[in-house]
Subunit: 299 residues, 2 copies
């Protein structure tokens, strides 16, 4: 079963204390699509400008990503530029040029409308709604968001929560949404806003799931060095959705394992700039780290 992914497709210029990399392939949909592609065919919905490098089209294609839903419009591709502090935990945005993204309306190709797994990666909630409005009863819908939308489009986010199976957000966004410092207290509150499954990402501290089967404490894969964490959260939810689309049996039985796969693909993402490391691994690299995580958490 294929996974439909809508989100941003961007060029990222990323500065860390050690290096600077201009115009890498980035955006929530790019990271999520490559991560999901290790498990299932992916249909990408997004927009790029006519300056979008040919090599990035080729990168998508190497990952068997269906680009029928990727619009190419005259103008510039969305460009984001950011800088990380020494400890890699804090980043600041240096520049945001929306380009063709400013007027983007995600229109689904007809044959994408029956996709069973839908990932609404981080993008304006109005666009996430717009995609859902075109879908025919998907089996499983998950969404991500960001602080910006909680600030400027909270009513749309709250409406969206009622339409989701799973909602994934990071701990600071969970705090922003619920005013709860405690992650378990926050999970319970978000649960009540609609989604059956809520996942709070805590970066290198792992993630927590709240579901009808209770909580799940998911470890992060241990990394000694982080090169660039940009896109790790998108890789996490992308791999989760890819794994869920490939797994047999009800989601309830698979969602914990899907988070483990999410953690592992996110760990590869952090080991290189942009998608540089993630695009160099194979499925067996992922399976190896999943086995290692098993050993690292047994008692």
């Amino acid at each position: 079963m294929s996974v439909l992914i809508v989100g941003s497709t961007a060029l990222d210029s990323i500065k860390t204390p050690k290096a600077e990399n201009p115009r890498l392939l980035g955006g929530s949909a790019s990271h999520a699509a490559v991560a999901a592609s290790f498990f299932r065919p992916v249909r990408l919905v997004g927009v790029v400008g006519d300056d979008f490098p040919r090599r990035y089209f080729q990168l998508y294609k190497r990952h068997r990503i269906d680009l029928e839903g990727l619009q190419i419009l005259p103008g510039k591709t969305f460009h984001w530029s950011g800088e990380y502090e020494l400890n890699m935990n804090n980043r600041r945005t240096l520049l945001t040029e929306l380009g063709v993204f400013e007027t983007f309306t995600p229109t689904l190709p007809k044959r994408h409308q029956d996709s069973p797994f839908v990932l609404l990666a981080n993008i304006a909630p109005a666009l996430q709604h717009h995609v859902l409005n075109q879908m025919q009863r998907p089996k499983f819908i998950a969404a991500d968001t960001m602080d910006l939308w909680l600030n400027i489009a909270l009513p749309e986010v709250l409406q969206l929560l009622k339409r989701l199976d799973a909602f994934v957000l990071n701990d600071s966004e969970a705090h922003q949404l619920t005013k709860e410092d405690n992650v378990f207290a926050a999970l319970k509150k978000i649960h009540r806003l609609g989604p059956k499954y809520v996942v709070i990402k805590k970066g290198s501290h792992g993630s927590i799931l709240s579901s009808p089967q209770g909580f799940f404490i998911c470890p992060a894969y241990p990394l000694h060095k982080i090169v660039d964490p940009t896109g790790a959260g998108d890789a996490f939810i992308g791999a989760m959705m890819g794994y869920l689309a490939t797994a047999k049996g009800p989601v309830d039985k698979q969602i914990r394992r899907s988070m483990i796969y999410g953690s592992v693909v996110a760990s590869f993402c952090c080991e290189g700039f942009g998608l540089q490391r993630t695009t160099r691994i194979k499925r067996w690299h992922i399976d190896q780290r999943v086995k290692e995580l098993e050993r690292l958490t047994q008692w």
Copy 2:
């Protein structure tokens, strides 16, 4: 096999945004001793003044804690007063009155000198050394510390590390000691300073072990509400040592499980002021949460 515990025995006056509790039983040795007492007989080494409330002697005795090594000196018991911020993560010290602690020298009763398990709970490293100097070849030595000793007595701490089997510290102390932001990188460095086992505590994010068998990612028990985290780290290492002293087979095989017990007893500690909650539980309450943690982490 009994556990010898040396550390501070204090009266804690604790203020949180919700309540204020004066002159609770506190101190690293008190929290560690009560935590260890659920598993094994404990020998406490510390000092109190002649103002030490009779009910706290009784509390120790209810937990079968051997008080032969607890000195009672004329003067005031060590008194610490602190205040927690709204999110319970940050606290500031309002007052420290050393009292009889100022001139304390831990002298071990003869029959304590052959204790197989020794916990050097948080106290000046010179005193930790002094206790070790009186011991006859203990089977397992663990120690805790705090930022203060890393600031004012680093050479003594570094000397101590060479004499330990296990060293337990929190993430900010690990950063202070190694200048590493990454917890896995910090663990490797501390390892090289001496101890075979190094545990970094991350509060509600759990803890990480580095050992010759590799890393272990230990979850924290999920709490929706934290009443008072004072002493949770002492409870963690106290329960670890109590469990290790009771467990059959080599430490290598038991240390991961001992950390799980540490997490659970620390979770009870956080649910009440001072020792109020921890002194109201039985061993089966602990076993129940250990089973629950098993369910919360399976995939």
